[in-house]
């Protein structure tokens, strides 16, 4: 019979076996974060949701210092706004093929079924699913295309792209022999010229205008609201700034031969991206969240938008500041992480035996972490990683380790 059990030692032994509960101190758009926000950020989250719910087209800047959890916020929003399509992009990854990459992210997020529904619904609206004699669908593709063209021509700028998209949608619904290939086209696959010609299409979605128009069709007809979360938006500003002479590298190829001496290739590229982002505002119902590292960047971005079109300023909302943790947040954050970690390991004794305790750390250590890091979440995680590594790998007693950090 078990008369006595050292629960604390058991927990330490378990940690030796499983490793540290704190491993990752940088959040990314690819790896899902399951832990929600701390108490002080709940209100912050709801203010964002309220802005998104009230505005159909909006650019919402979120300003937060390095490591304050801007990217983590994306995951919190995604979990909270499960009834939205929220797509994350980092500007670093989408500089080239901007619309194509955003479209691909949307498709990955929404799935092909939504696209099939959109295609079906659009064709239905264009009269393709009309029932002759009350029962029979006798679709006349040309008639359907004509209705589609009349309906869409005033809404879209690029005639060639819109024709490609109408041809693709009608073929997808009404021509079973082409359905599979059109679906490949919808998914953004590279289609060779022979297949394109068989489908009566001029280009695949690698062509910028096609990708943009398809993105517009997708977002405007998806039946759910869409949010584009653009992380590290200040990259545009930094790309536009001239590189100081001391940081310039000596290069054999002088880029000014190709791009002229008035602006650097980076600046050109940044301007192009900015123009493309501005064009995204023509997509009805697409809300954009941008994250910035400081207020200076925000002011500079505002100036850039103003230069392009002063009407854009109406769309840009007052920035929301993401501040560091409050002192209470450290405790909540720590407990949430440990509960998630042990819950995942099915070690439910933790919830019973340590519900009121901060073991293996204590209140003093957590307070000290908060003071040392000034409440910066990333620094707090780094600190916790260090302490837990000490607890797991060092031969010292727990009390001695904790003393070092108190």
């Amino acid at each position: 019979m078990l008369l006595f059990e050292n629960k604390e030692q058991k927990l330490l032994n378990l940690l030796n076996f499983t490793g540290s509960p704190f491993k990752k101190f940088v959040s990314t758009g690819e790896i899902e974060e399951d832990i929600g926000l701390v108490q002080s950020r709940e209100e912050f989250l709801h203010s964002i949701i309220s802005i998104l719910d009230k505005n159909e087209n909006v650019i919402l800047p979120i300003i937060g210092d390095v490591g304050t959890g801007k990217t983590h916020l994306y995951w919190a929003l995604k979990h909270e706004l499960y009834y939205y399509n929220i797509v994350f992009i980092s500007l670093e990854n989408v500089v080239k093929k901007f619309y194509y990459n955003i479209y691909s992210e949307f498709i990955e997020n929404m799935g092909i079924d939504i696209l099939r529904n959109i295609s079906r619904r659009l064709c239905n609206n264009w009269g393709a699913l009309e029932r002759k004699f009350g029962f029979f669908h006798v679709a006349e593709i040309n008639k359907v295309k004509k209705v589609a063209c009349e309906e869409w021509a005033p809404k879209f700028e690029n005639e060639e792209s819109i024709m490609d998209i109408i041809n693709a949608i009608t073929a997808h619904q009404l021509d079973p022999y082409k359905k599979i290939e059109v679906e490949r086209w919808f998914l953004g696959e590279v289609i060779d010229i022979r297949d394109l010609s068989r489908l009566n299409l001029k280009n695949d979605l690698r062509k910028r205008d096609n990708a943009y128009t398809m993105l517009k069709v997708l977002v405007e007809n998806a039946m759910v609201n869409s949010v584009l979360f653009i992380d590290d938006f200040e990259k545009i500003v930094s790309m536009m700034k001239p590189i100081p002479i001391e940081e310039q590298k000596e290069e054999v190829f002088d880029k000014s031969w190709l791009y002229g001496s008035s602006e650097s290739p980076q600046k050109r590229s940044a301007n192009k991206i900015l123009d493309k982002i501005v064009k995204l505002n023509n997509i009805n119902g697409l809300r954009i969240i941008i994250t910035l590292k400081s207020f200076d960047f925000y002011e500079e971005i505002i100036r850039k938008f103003e230069d392009i079109d002063s009407n854009l300023l109406k769309l840009i909302k007052k920035p929301i500041i993401l501040s560091n943790f409050d002192d209470d947040d450290v405790f909540t954050f720590y407990k949430k992480n440990l509960e998630f970690f042990f819950g995942h390991l099915n070690y439910f004794d933790y919830f019973r035996d340590f519900s009121q305790s901060y073991f293996p750390l204590n209140k003093e250590v957590l307070k000290n972490i908060f003071i040392q890091t000034k409440g910066n979440p990333r620094e707090i995680i780094k600190f916790l990683i260090k302490i837990f590594n000490d607890i797991i790998f060092s031969n010292e007693e727990l009390e001695e380790i904790l003393k070092k950090y108190q």
């Binding site: 079906r120 029932r131 004699f133 009350g134 029979f136 669908h137 619904q173 079973p176 599979i180």
Partner: protein
Amino acid sequence: MNTSDDFVLFDSLKSIRINGEFTGSIVSKYKNKVIFSDNIKISDSEGIMISEGLITGFEKVGMELNPISRKVDLKWDLNDTLLEYCVIIPEDTMEQYDQGQFSNELPYTINLLHTATLLLNNHESKLNHLDFFKGEILKNPIAMIRNGIIIADRVVIDDNGDPVFYDCLIVGRDENEDINISYEPITNVDDKMLEYIIILGIEELKI
């Protein structure tokens, strides 16, 4: 489940008649023919009227029975007992039927251009093309069985030579002679049970 009050507009056997103008997906059984229409008008003064309906069945030309599908305007007196029933298919059932047609596209479906007989089990003449089409998918079959009508999106002839109907609307009478409507994704029918199967020609639907 729908009660017969919801969809039976006229039933000569049960003396049901609902006056009014109806639009939707309407099936009427007239002698041994089936009429599809998107409208029907029933009134005491004018009787029963269908404009621009599609009548399908068999017509005797000389000694031969020929399949027909023809656009017609029809009018009956209320005393005309040859019109057996008129039913309007509920919209939710039609939606199921529509989804069955488009969710499961089969690219190698045979569309006949003109209406043709696939099977005829009549005391006057017999015709059986089931073996010829074994393994093929034929679009727009209409089948008359002893107690009802099958309107399907496609039919496939299985290894036993029996037709398998996909995405079917079935209209028929139950043991109490009440009219029922049901939707079935797949229906197997023994060919001996069938009076006829007609494949509607796509060109004739376009007229």
